[in-house]
């Protein structure tokens, strides 16, 4: 199951959580779908962000896709992580939402790294 990291500039945190709550209500979900475990991130470049980790499920995915427009407007960030594959989107525009939407539906995989190939070879050898 893929994980999605959502990051919003710290100054918009309250606005974002309110929006998420309203979307959750209209989707007919209970409070377990609310955002929790907020983590504050202060980067060296002076960017203060609030971050949440959301595990994608059939219930939560519509909420994530619904907030993409908000994140584009407020210059939020989305990271889609499934296994080794990481797709990170920062400062995206409305026309790039479609790409993220597709990635959310079917996380893209990058070609396996050489180290991974080496591991599988090694395993093969021990089996043989």
């Amino acid at each position: 199951m893929a994980d999605v990291l959502i990051r919003v500039p710290a100054e918009f945190e309250h606005e974002f959580t309110t929006l998420w709550k309203q979307l959750r209500l209209f989707e007919g979900l209970d409070s377990s779908a609310d955002l929790d475990n907020r983590e504050s991130v202060d980067r060296f470049d002076g960017h203060a962000l609030a971050e949440w980790v959301v595990t994608l499920s059939s219930a939560v995915t519509p909420l994530v896709t619904a907030v993409l427009g908000y994140l584009a407007a407020r210059r939020g960030e989305v990271v889609i992580k499934e296994g080794d594959s990481i797709q990170e989107y920062r400062g995206f525009s409305p026309s790039e939402i479609e790409t993220i939407y597709n990635a959310l539906k079917r996380p893209q995989s990058r070609p396996p790294s050489l180290s991974k190939k080496f591991r599988s070879r090694k395993r093969g050898r021990t089996k043989g």
């Binding site: 994980d3 990291l5 710290a10 100054e11 918009f12 475990n37 907020r38 983590e39 504050s40 991130v41 202060d42 980067r43 060296f44 470049d45 002076g46 960017h47 203060a48 971050e51 980790v53 210059r75 990271v79 992580k81 594959s85 990481i86 797709q87 990170e88 989107y89 920062r90 400062g91 995206f92 525009s93 026309s95 790039e96 893209q108 990058r110 070609p111 790294s113 050489l114 190939k117």
Partner: protein
Amino acid sequence: MLWYSLGPDLRRRYRKQATRTRGFYVQREIRAAVRSTMSYLRNWLAEDVVQIKVLPISSGNWLSEVRRINKISTVIFDAEQTNAQLFLLARKLAMEAPIFHYVEFMIRIGELLASLGKDIEAIRVAQLCQLRLEQFSERSGNYGEFPRLQDPEGLETFQRIGAAPAVALVLGHEIGHALVQQAAGPQADFEIIAREWRRLNEELWLIPPDYFQRLDTNGRPCDGFFSSIAGVMQIPELEQSVTITLSVIDESKADFVGFVVFTHFVAENGISPDESIDLLFSLFLAAERLSVVQRLIPQIPNHPMRKAIHFRFPLLPSRFVMLATIIKLVSEGALRPPDDVATYWKRCSHQSIQDISTMGNLKRIALIAENPGSAARGGLYLGTGAPFPPRRPGLNFLGARYGPSAGNMLWEYLPFAKGEYMYELSNLDDEEDPAIQGNSGFACAIRDSTRAIMLGDTIDEMCGTSILTAWKARKVQLWDAIRSPRLLVMDRSLSSKI
């Protein structure tokens, strides 16, 4: 060991959200510097620091950060960030030609792209960088070799400084953030810094406006230079503006902690106070250039499309001005860092303090701090393939009469005020001014990486696809391909070309 000190819950969480790709290993020298920084801070701030956890890593994102969840602060210290700063510092001290600054930025941009999952773009950046190196080699008249002039005195100074001050500056800054979050640490000093910031902000505009560069459907700036800029005077709502102001003040508080530990190490390594002022500002300048890369590069689309690229307001004017003020206040005894730091800065010459602390000089410092931001704006603009914008009549007069307060038009034109000269690497092989060397190398890197990301096909035609083909055939690893230009520069010959 440090990974285990986080405890099971945090470990599980960070493993889940580990979105960074591995860079190198954290070198022993840097680990030692991290340990001595922490022990110095424990001596100074006692139990305030004990609760803060530090995790040294080395990642392709090369960005340190402090995370706070359930009242536990964890500093993710990225050794690659310090390495990046030190590489740039070495280039600056050795007064190297802009092309070598350029190579360093291109490699970092490639690493960042790869860690964002944009592998092909990262390889194109490396490919273009290689082409520029070949052109440079050709221009030098001896194809295959890189004439790399380095100032031996500068290199000697670099050796003397060592890695510890840079580590201390970054780690101390992050610890400072954690302290501010916990409302702990040297509170009296923090209050003085906040008061000074507010006082100076009335004279100098320490938070410049945000800026958007609008691109049309062909990926070119819309309708010429001046009309393609939007949102220059975007003023946020009051509530958000208060949050932004507080976060900028917090940066300076955190810088104070970094500054104290930095001083401890430069004093230990026998650097004089006058020398370390320059060193401090150089490290921050390098950090700001790298930060601009962090904010700008992820936004560039991988094909020409309509988009507004957002330039967040630069923090450097506020940071520079406050650093100068902190140095002055420490030397006067108004701020109370540990004794060794206070004695060190009291040794600083009166002239040096004057040079950075009078209001006129602070204005100059704030203006210098605009350089990285404006170089990046210019680089992006030219990278889209747009021609160099013509000079508007009257700007000279406005600039001479009113300086930075002449208004938006002058400020907008700032990236191009120095002329086309600084955006062309072929003009700059013999450049000897360290300020231009660094700035031009950076501006050209932004310009070329914009091209490599947005106009991929053109780049493939221009520089060939040897690295891309080798990577697709799995003959070379992604990270080796991205870092290959550095090996070329180190060997100083094209013989190690992959």
